[in-house]
Amino acid sequence: MSTETNQNNNPDEDFLVVENLTTTFNTARGPLPAVGGVSFRLGHNETLGVVGESGSGKTVLSRTIMGLQPRTNVEVGGSVRFDGHEIVGATEAELREIWGTKVAMIFQDPMTSLNPVTKIGKQIGESLHVRLGMSKDEAKARAIELLTLVGIPSPEERYEAYPTQLSGGMRQRVMIAIALACNPSLLLADEPTTGLDVTIQAQILNLLDELQMKLQMSVILVTHDLGVVATRTDRIIVMYAGRVVEMGRTKDVFKDHRMPYTRALLESTPRVSNPSHTRLKTIPGRPPNLLKLAEGCAFAPRCSRATEKCSQERPNLEPTGTDGHYFACWNPLDNQSAPVSSSTGSTKEFGEDNVRS
């Protein structure tokens, strides 16, 4: 994976450098490589989208970047350098120094992330008190300020509310307020709008956009929703079976994708702009079992372009020539043949429904 380490020499890009990051869980049935060697860089104020299906390793990747892994039965390799800090191998005391103040995270499920028996104001003020050493009154004033910032109506009253008294969208706003309490420069958002209704999702995404501008943050947005990444990110990483299969500027990945998996993912997504009863293209089979990963490209068994080489040798990320656009495939799609909107009628490029494999 040496190709990616010197992909861009712009010093501005060196804000977050992830190099050959691996996370392997030791399970009873053998080692499970949830993240199998991921490298990328993130610049200041940039938004990076991480997309993939369930089990592709996107959540484990974001947690590893944050330094959040279980203490036992996990091996982390490679390096995550963030603003002069090395996260891989850091002690908990070192991590505590940067959690909240430098890097913060919002999770998918705001209900289980909040303490149900503590008032939300206190939960927001906690990090202000512990990390920034604010007094109780200062922390309260700042917490109310934060509640206003994330658009919660009547913040003084809501300061006293318990999480169960708030709706899902409001709870996610509280989570964002907690994450932003100590002005982090990197925000990891793991499926922040999954489980929210579309109108609430739009509110939360607009809020994140607005706050990113206002507070000058870099954001890593982890999601399975291609609609969310299409509109809210500068660059995208597409993950499959724990590895990056394609990355580049959002526009390039959507329009000029080279990896067949990226196209298959785009073409199997139903679109509001297509007429009803548009036949969806499907990807045959299922994502691989990470415990039994074969030698070659992990997508090869489901790929219509796969050749013998694909099942024997794993492709590395290769540059396309467009700035920062990389793909891992032996038989890439060519530039011109990348129609994003799927055509009508039955097309069998990616095979018909079949789970009999």
């Binding site: 509110q203 959002t250 679109r271 429904d353």
Partner: protein, 325 residues
């Protein structure tokens, strides 16, 4: 084909479902009416809490309806005795959101699919096995390889295929799908949507497809109905409704749906606030508290669903599109 010449499979008139919460009453479904024609797929969309799932469950009488009538092929379901209703319900089947918890993990796949046949004693012995074999083949599960496996050994997508096979065992007229693809990854979701389209043609099914995902609903439906806080806002042919939404709520809902294409100009005009509590629904039009076009009339007078042509009906005093004529 004019609507009058089509066979109505399901007709819902003023359906109401009220739950009690202590001394309070929540009207989850507050009087909705629609018809479902033979061979048609009607999509039912709305945000969480709008009553779309409750509607589906009330049609199956899983939750008792507290008002209104449900006609299935002309027979009124709610006035029938338990035994008669049970018999009529053979014609209607439902598939649920969570495929894994819909199946008994300790039973073998072929027995799960055969259960309706065993219940109704419609087929036994070799005939029963042949039907099960055929159904599993139809949904893309090889019965020779997987028939004897337990439900717990399957992934979500495969479990949903097994649920579909089971629902088809009684050769239903009407299939109610409640968020059947929302727990699945996009590649698996596409497989299931295509499968449903194929089976609908093959079995001549009429479907009510309940989901929150607007793109999914448009893809599979001939007509779409939009619900808000227990009421129908709008109903119409999918392509017309998505192109020219008449109800302001439909328009905002469509505007909030994100298209997987960075070059499409996204509508950033978002709906402010959240739906009011169904415990205390607003007077008049239920959407008026969030509607930018609301006037006094909206608060005092409830808009009724009315025809605006081209098969589209809207419940709004000030629809965004006028009559189609």
């Amino acid at each position: 084909m004019s609507e009058a010449s089509k066979n109505v499979v399901l007709s819902v008139k003023d359906l109401e479902v009220t739950f009690r919460k202590g001394r309070q009453r929540v009207s989850a479904v507050a009087g909705i009416s629609f018809d479902l024609y033979e061979g048609e797929t009607l999509g039912l969309v709305g945000e969480s809490g709008c009553g779309k799932s409750t509607t589906g469950r009330a049609l199956m009488q899983i939750v008792p309806s507290t008002g209104g009538e449900i006609y299935v092929d002309g027979a009124e379901l709610t006035s029938l005795s338990k035994k008669e209703a049970r018999s009529l319900r053979r014609k209607m089947q439902m598939i649920f959101q969570d495929p894994i918890s819909s199946l008994n993990p300790r039973r073998r796949v072929k027995d799960i699919v055969a259960e309706p046949l065993d219940c109704w004693k419609t087929a036994k012995g070799e005939e029963r096995d042949a039907i099960v074999y055929d159904l599993l083949n139809k949904v893309g599960i090889d019965p020779a390889v997987y028939g004897n496996r337990y439900a717990r050994q399957f992934s979500g997508g495969q479990c949903q295929r097994i649920s579909i096979a089971r629902s088809l065992a009684m050769r239903p007229r009407l299939l109610i799908c409640d968020e059947v693809v929302s727990a699945l990854d996009v590649s698996i979701q596409a497989q299931i949507l295509n499968l449903l389209e194929d089976l609908k043609k093959e079995y001549g099914l009429t479907m009510l497809f309940i989901a929150h995902d607007l793109a999914v609903v448009k893809n599979i439906s001939d007509r779409v109905a939009v619900m808000y806080l227990g009421k129908l806002c709008e109903i119409g042919p999918s392509d017309t409704l998505y192109a020219k939404p008449a109800h302001p709520y439909t328009s905002f809902l469509l505007g909030a749906a994100l298209e997987a294409d960075p070059e499409i100009e996204q509508n950033r005009a978002t709906l402010s606030g959240e739906p009011p509590s169904p415990l205390h629904p607003p007077s008049g039009c239920r959407f008026r508290t969030r509607c930018p076009f609301a006037t006094e009339k909206c608060a005092s007078e409830e808009p009724m669903l009315r025809d605006i042509g081209a098969g589209q009906q809207v419940a709004c005093h000030y629809p965004l599109v006028g009559s189609h004529q």
